[in-house]
């Protein structure tokens, strides 16, 4: 059980770092809230939504984008922790962790879990504010959303881990925004349902369908109504396995490049 002591230390260090960085916490919250209060209000009129599963009645646009914004928080959080990994790697604290006497997958897995927990914390606060705004879900919905959000967070964290292992020029967030976050976010069902996209461009709709972020968002969307979207679950798990596998290859000792 000594390995668990190590995992706990990695997770508490990450949480402590996050809590002390207040600006990061507020920045992480302001982003989705602006989308919810401003963007969604403006788009409400422009975007007509039909009744699609898991919804049983007409819903407001704000209600529709809540799962997508949860995904957005996790996406930003996952990328941010991958950037901190690059820093850790440069500064040497990553070496400290990787030379601890545990298997590499275990240490990187703990780091991943730590990042996902930071993301979950932000989502919880966001959902709390949304609740006061009138966007309420059932207790079962919140409960079911927890594992869905955790899985989505771990999958997106694994993507960040993979990127940090492979891409050396990940120093600035702007590049990640342009090439990872924006394409993933806009080419998904976070802001508009798939059929809407299908109407405008079948090609873009196909891209949305293969985007793992879409499946993570749908998993959360169905979970918030106490339903399990099996296909979304399968794709999210598959994407996680793929990204984590690639990340492990990237951090494999023989492939670790010179500083």
């Amino acid at each position: 059980m000594k390995a668990l002591i190590a995992a706990r230390a990695i997770i508490t260090r990450e949480l402590a770092r996050f809590v002390t960085q207040r600006e990061r916490f507020f920045a992480a919250l302001v982003r989705p809230l602006v989308w919810l209060f401003v963007f969604a209000a403006g788009f409400r009129a422009a975007l007509g939504l039909s009744i699609i599963p898991p919804y049983k009645t007409y819903i407001s646009y704000e209600t529709y984008i809540v799962p997508g914004l949860c995904g957005m928080i996790l996406l930003f959080s996952g990328m941010q922790s991958s950037l901190s990994l690059v820093n850790d790697r440069e500064s040497g604290t990553m070496r400290l962790m990787l030379t601890a006497p545990w298997p590499r997958w275990f240490l990187l897995g703990a780091k991943l879990l730590a990042g996902a927990m930071v993301g979950l914390l932000q989502v919880a606060v966001f959902l709390g504010i949304a609740w006061f705004y009138g966007l309420k879900f059932s207790a079962v919905g919140y409960l079911a959303a927890l594992p869905a959000l955790a899985l989505a967070g771990i999958m997106l964290g694994a993507l960040g881990l993979f990127l940090s292992a492979r891409i050396r020029q990940l120093e600035n967030f702007a590049g990640v925004m342009n090439f990872v976050i924006f394409p993933m976010f806009f080419l998904s069902t976070a802001l508009y349902p798939l059929w809407k996209m299908q109407e405008s461009s079948p090609l873009l709709a196909t891209l949305c369908e293969i985007n793992p972020f879409t499946h993570a968002v749908e998993l959360v969307r169905f979970a918030l109504y106490g339903q399990l979207n099996l296909a979304a679950l399968g794709w999210t798990v598959l994407a996680f396995a793929l990204f984590f596998g690639l990340a492990l290859l990237g951090y494999e000792p023989a492939r670790t490049r010179s500083r």
Binding site: K2, A3, I5, A6, R8, A9, I10, R13, A16, R17, T20, E90, S91, G92, T93, R95, L96, M97, L98, T99, A100, P101, W102, P103, E252, P253, A254, T256, R257, S258, R259
Partner: protein, 239 residues
């Protein structure tokens, strides 16, 4: 004498650039061995191999009889490392930094606290446990890192140019502290390009252009020639 570290037939390339060429040497138990070499000799690459961060092909690294490639956990548990680049959280206290490391090694609770206290006392750092690392000077930060590397009672201490950026008194103090550790049976591999950090009765491995150019006791290897002169003659580099 038993060996704390044995390296045999180690080679490594960074892409097309060869970094290590058929490196072999051993560090006996309780000995201070300096890994001497000019900048770019391959010292940091060798340190990365010895800590398992890169895997050499071909080559064998054995720590206290445990093969680093086959049983990395047993080998790593016997190594304490002080990296060239600083590896601490500046905004956390000395104790918090050491506690994090202890936990990484699987130590917690009273046992961890006890070992942290012992380690800090060994380096004369016990009264600084509560201070933030950011408030410490360079010498004390290094001492903290050495204390940290000793928490899990390793038998072999690896230090990669640990005195870089320190003033003369701090350098002398740290060199003396680490020499003293060998009296307790700890073996030390100390990478440096500064010859004044070596004692005549230390061991020496001269690394030049990725190869072992000389190895043995400092006074035996250099003979009557002063070490600085000898080093210069062998490597053609300014020490």
């Amino acid at each position: 004498m038993t060996e704390a570290l044995r390296v045999a037939g180690l080679s490594h390339d960074w892409g097309r650039k060869p970094a290590l060429r058929d490196v072999s040497f051993a560090v006996p138990e309780g000995r201070f061995c300096a890994l001497l070499g000019p900048n770019g000799a391959g010292k940091s690459t060798l340190m990365a191999v010895l800590t398992g961060l890169i895997r050499p092909a071909p080559g064998v690294v054995s720590v206290g009889g445990h093969d680093l490639g086959r049983s990395p956990r047993a080998a790593l548990a016997r190594i304490g490392v002080v990296y060239q680049a600083p590896t601490y959280d500046l905004d956390r206290s000395v104790f918090a930094n050491l506690k994090y490391f202890a936990a990484l090694q699987g130590l917690s609770g009273a046992e961890a606290r006890e070992r942290i206290a012992t380690s800090l006392a060994r380096l004369g750092m016990e009264e600084r446990a509560g201070e933030k690392v950011a408030a410490l000077n360079g010498g004390h930060r290094r001492r903290m890192e050495i204390a940290r590397a000793l928490i899990h009672a390793p038998r072999l201490l690896l230090l990669d140019e640990p005195t870089v950026g320190l003033d003369a008194p701090a350098r002398a103090a740290i060199t003396a502290h680490v020499h003293a550790l060998t009296a307790e049976g700890i073996s030390v591999l100390w990478a440096t390009h500064l010859v004044d950090e070596l004692h005549p009765d230390d061991d020496l491995v001269l690394l030049h252009q990725g190869r072992v150019a000389a190895a043995g006791r400092v006074d035996a290897v250099t003979g009557a020639t002063p070490l600085a002169e000898w080093f210069l003659a062998r490597t053609g580099a300014a020490a």
